[in-house]
Structures are given as structure tokens and as C-alpha cells.
Amino acid sequence: MKLTKEEVNDIALESRLVLTEKELEGTVKFINNFLTMLDSFKELDLKDVEPFSFAETLECPLRADEIHPFENTQGIINQSAHVEDNLFKVPRIMEAQ
């Protein structure tokens, strides 16, 4: 086994996912099979290969520095169930202080 249950559970928590015991078991099996599948990369000599990018979009287009205000900011804000006086209200992040 490549990854233990504990390791997979830690990764899940990094992703802010709390798994049930059954979910965890399924995930462990899935991840380990998956990593085995990816081990096939080792058969290839990748040393001098460049990471992929499309030839046609090799260059990032640049936008002019012109202000175009979004016309529907209220439409954004209305979608949150946590808005108070136009601010987004969240539980206090105790850890950071």
C-alpha cells in the first residue's frame, strides 16, 4: 500500500473534506490504484522534455489598463447568505491571531 488510511485522511482534511469511514476506505483503494497507474511514467525518459503548452497560445495576451466596472455587483452580493452591510460575514479565524 502506497498511502495509509491516516495519510489519505490528512490529505482529505487539507482539502477541507471530512470523510466517513466507508468513504475513506473507498478513497484509499482508489488513490493507491491510481498512483500505481501513474507509476508507468517511470518507464519514460522525461529528463529533457519540456512541460506542455500549446504552440498557438504560447504567449499570454495582455489587457489594456482601462477601468470597466462590472455592472452587476449587486448580483454577486445577493448570492451570498452571509452578507451584512455589504460585507461578507464569516466565523472568526481564531487560528491566525
Binding site: 495582455l62 489587457r63 489594456a64 455587483t73 460575514k89 466565523p91
Partner: protein, 486 residues
Amino acid sequence: MPELEFTPVIGIEIHIRLKTKTKIFCSCSTNTDVPPNTHVCPVCMGLPGSLPRLNYEVVQQGMLAGMALNCEVQPKSLFFRKSYFYPDLPKGHQISQCDLPIVAGGFIEVHDENGNLKKIRVNHLHLEEDVGSLHHSASDGRLEGAAISYVDYNRSGMPLAEIVSEPDVSSAKEAVEYVTTLRRRVIYSGASDVELEKGMMRFDANVSMKCSDGRWGRKVEVKNMNSFHALEKAIEYEIKRQKKIMLQGGEILQETRHWNDAKGVTTASRVKEFYRKFIVEPDLPPLIISQEWIDKTKAMFPEMPDVRARRYVNEFKLTPEAADMLTDNKALADYFEACVKAGAEPVRASHWVRTEVLRILNEKALKIDSFNITPDSLANLIKRIDAGKISTTQAKEVFDAMTNNNLSLDEAIKSCGITEGGIVGDALSSIIQKVIAENPDVLAEIKSGKDTKGKKLKFLQGLVMKETKGQAKPQEVAEALTKALN
């Protein structure tokens, strides 16, 4: 046993807001002087389906800022996704150049403890987006223990340059000189206003200690400094703290600590360090900067303040202090140089700018850009002093009249009742005749030969000077008076 010596090894990370009209990846305004969540759109709010678009001006300003740090522009750079969960980070990841930055490999010079110049190497400057701002006490005013936080995304997506130094800094004093010099150079380059009070410059420091007995302490990352003062105090505190632990034979933990400005201490962060993983930002192709663009930017890159100051000393024979003072503010230095170009003698122009001009700017809380005496006018004023047409005392009066009443040089001279070039010849003779006529007894006394010490003559001379309102030269008055009496 020899006493143990400790050498601090310090690296500094600085975040600077770049000067653009719009955010880095969307067309929202960068003006923060608006109600919360006003300058937001699908992109800077991280809405599903939105895609980033890179701002040309951010790239331009990033290049300028990089050049201010003596960095080389990289022809190809890339954006990555830096993941962590935090409510001020709307996509759950920050788009940042991380390890393939736009510029790399520069330095900033500071003075070491012996006063010698020393290079602090700049590893690189990279572009990234800012996060939203969190307010912890908006509702009930309590700062600590409040149950809720408020998020404002106006700042989300503001263009930032992160500047990472090599661990070449050896003291809090060097750190402060490094950031001060760096700030001045970046402002000069035009890349950022770096207004400290607006939070446009934020610092983190990596502090570790090398001991003369061969021990190395682990690296501690100190975060949350928003002023030069906080940076200085935090580093001093951290050096002292680590030294003490090492002296007692203890181990320095590799950790992140937060600077508490109110208490003047660093405290260990209670969260496990954010887990960071980078993948290439698939929505932004590589940033390619052409040689032409680099050349064009180099051509528009202004002379840096320290170089300029050195030139003032060599070329204009200013004192280093005067040169420093003038070059601290680019606009002020530009003003000074315009005066010199208009024909003012440099040392005298430097004196006028540093004393009179700055006095008025201070009194009126003005910026040099909105000062109403043009460099040409000031140069002309200085030239007239030098030509002896008006005295220095008169010139100050004229200068005040020009700025206070918005007058041209000639109008101001006139309004001060000054006759340029002083009162001479017939005008002087007639004043002398008038004074003599009004003082027959004094005249009689002089003629009688009793005025052996010349007291009475001096008295008449004083009266004449008073009549001319100081616009005659004393030497000429004395000569003309003696002539008139004989």
C-alpha cells in the same frame, strides 16, 4: 573560553502594490476609497466560470520596479496557483509567479556597521494578486475574541510585486536601510507610490542565527509587519529571543511567528503552516516579454536617487546631505534640476529649494507638483540676486509675495516697492540734497569741523539710506554725501 558571538542571518520579503488603474486580472478599479465590495466582478470574486486576464500595465510596472532593484527582466515567466483556504482568498488559491518570476537577480546597497557599502542581493521580484481584507471587529468593536470576521473584496486582485532578498541582511538597522532605499528607488521608477499608511508595503522576515561555536539556528519566519518601525522592532526582538535560547543551549524551532505591534513581541502562530502546492495556472499562457519592450522600458527608466545624489555632489558641488535631501523626492529633485537648467547657480538653487521652497510646501501642506512658483521664475529670482539687482533680504520678500499672491516675478518686485538695481545718480543726489536741506544744524556742525569722529556724517548717511528704503549701496551713499558736502 572565548565569548560566543552571534551573527544574524536575515532575508526579507516585501509586498508592494503596483501603480495601475485596474486590478491585475480584471478591469475593476484599484481605487480603494469606496464602500466595501464595490470594485468587484466575477474574476476578482473568484466566481465559477470566470477567467483571469493579465493587465499590460502590471507587467510594465513590474519591469520598472525590477530595474529599480538592478534585476534582469526574464524573457519568459509563468503564473502558478498557490493553494490555501482562507475566506479573503476567493478562489482558494492565489495566482502568483512564485518561482518563474518576471525579473530576477538584483541587489540594493546599504551601509554595514562600519559604514562601508554592502550589497543585499535581491533574488527576484514576482507578480501576484492581493487578497481581500478582513475586519475582525466591525460589528461590536471588540478586537479580541470576536466570533465573526467581515470580508471586503475590494482589495482582492490588486496587483502586487513580491520582492525576495537573499539572506544577506545582518541587522535590524541594515534591514531598515534596505527597505528604505528599496522603497525610494521603486517610487522613483514610477512603478508604485508605496504609500506606507495605505498599506502599500508589507514585510516578512526570515531570521536565523549563526553562532561562533559552529551552531546554526533554524529559520524563523516573522510575519505581519506593516511599517519600517515594526520591521526594525520585530527583527531586534527576534534576534534577542533566538540568541537567548541558543545561549541557554536550546533549540530554535522552525516556525512562523507573528509580530504583535501593540505588545512589541513575536508569538508563535498556532496554525500549522499553510500547505502550499503549486500547479501551473492553466488559464494564463506564459508571459513573454520581447527585447524591444525591455529596451523601451530601459529607455524610459529614470535615474535612480542614489545615482542622482552622487551626480549632484560631483557636478553641482552640493554637499552629500544637500544632495540626499533633494533626491529623496523625485519631483523635488526634478524641480531643483529645472531651476539649474534655467540658469540658477546650483548651490544657491539647492539652498533656495531646501529652505524657502520646502518651508512654503510645509506651511501650506502642498506637493511640489502644485507649487505655484515655476522653476524658471525661481531661477530668475536667484539670477537677479546674483546680478546684484536685489538683495537676498528683498528676494525673500519677493518670493513670499509671488507664492502668497500668485504674482509673477516682476509683479512681485513692484508690489514690494523695490527699484531694481538700487537708487543711484540723480535720484540719489536729490535725496541727499533733501536730507541736507532738512538738517541745517547737522550740516553746520560738520562744516565747523567739530565732527572729528565722523559721527554726524554717519547720521546723515543713515537718514539717506532710510529715505532710499535700503535700495542704495552704503558705499555709494557715503561717497556721494561727502562729495555733496564739499
